[in-house]
Symmetry: C2
Subunit: 215 residues, 2 copies
DNA sequence: TCGGCAACCTACTCGTGCGTAACCCTACGC
DNA sequence: GCGTAGGGTTACGCACGAGTAGGTTGCCGA
């Protein structure tokens, strides 16, 4: 049985680099849906169209595979944002471009976003990786806000600034999550909504206006 | 070896209700740190000071145990918020009280928050449970904003309102997460910051002010 | 005081899934 | 044409952990 079909090289031997990409693609697909523990290396190998020992030969243990996959997504996301945010631009334009790139990435790479946001947090060996990424982003956002306010002649305490940045990053992630679950939604429109909330809301807040507890 | 110590009833037999509480407490502790899959029923049983078959006898399978644990935390959180948010209050006062209760809960029940936020999302059998809770909260927040704006004579499209509510819930969660990792921080102060961001930011935004893409 | 129920245990079975040993086969350089 | 390196496989060892069978002990009411 299984006599050779008329096209012998249907199951081609492929160079290592190509196979590694395929494996990482499959790993992303499976890990992002199931999470680290519920995913099995067998399933990833099958999805990639090769057998399990190849995965171990090329990418190492399951943990290393998850990390390689995670790092690739972190790099893709950071690179997509960094490419459009030029340092000479005014802060609001930087934020706007960054948000567009971010939501664009989430819209185009649902799995990558789920990997970063849903799976890599909490699971202990990997939580630090995303936490570090988040921290970098928070610092960048806080910097933008700080510079924008400085340009208007206002100074705000760093801890205050960082808390606002933290909240804005969270709001952005939340909308990204919403976007990931509404594939027909428009990333640019979402970016616009977030930009409004960030620029008007945080700006006015940091400018000194406050809501008073007892009316 | 291990001859009976001088205090025979040190390891007391306890009524079922008490044991179940202890088990759920231990389950929360272990699940919130390790996640569903990495946690073992043996570890939970050991932490609770009993043996594994007791867990199965009282709370059922591992999945049912996780669900019972999760539902208890959902109920606690919702109850803590519902207790202070009286429907007759003006919307801003409702939001303020709700935020205080929420951050208070997170500060006092770190594990409960991690269970809800980090572990129960993404892991497939349970994701729906927290998603439903989130959805309820988003609707409530959107309702508050809508009523507040209505009182000022403004109407905003429901989708717009929901997106803003989604972002605010995300911002709140993000600050809660920050709070959970800074045990010395003050929940009330965090609630105040979030209140400012929500009330000033979202309010002004929904009132019609926009940031324009090209300056 | 004595049955019996309910709390609790030890000691298994058995499936699942990571990681590997030991092999095959084809293309390409020489 | 032939050896070898590298792409590929099957089939297994082995550990860990969910879930259970079956027994033991203490408490409480009649």
């Amino acid at each position: 049985m299984l006599a050779r079909m008329s096209t012998p090289p249907t199951f081609r031997r492929l160079p290592r680099a190509v196979r590694e990409r395929q494996m990482l693609d499959s790993a992303l697909k499976v890990f992002s849906r199931r999470g680290f523990h519920a995913a099995s290396v067998d399933e990833i190998a099958e999805d990639a169209g090769i057998s399990k020992p190849m995965v171990y030969a090329y990418l190492g243990t399951k943990e290393e595979l998850f990390l390689a996959c995670l790092r690739r997504e972190v790099d893709r996301l950071m690179e997509a944002v960094a490419r459009v945010v030029e340092p000479e631009l005014p802060p609001d334009e930087q934020l706007w471009r960054g948000l567009r790139a971010f939501f664009g990435f989430v819209g185009a790479h649902r799995d990558g976003w789920l990997m970063l946001y849903r799976q890599a947090r909490g699971q202990e060996p990997f939580a630090g990786e995303t936490a570090a990424m988040r921290a970098r982003i928070v610092v960048v956002v806080a910097g933008m806000l700080g510079r924008a306010l400085h340009a208007e002649g206002r100074e705000v305490r760093d801890t205050e600034l960082e808390a606002v940045a933290y909240a804005l990053v969270g709001a952005t992630e939340s909308l990204a999550d919403w976007l990931a679950e509404h594939p027909d939604a428009d990333p640019d429109k979402t970016a616009n909504q977030m930009m409004n909330l960030a620029w008007l809301g945080a700006g006015q807040l940091l400018r000194g206006e406050v809501w008073r507890p007892s009316p």
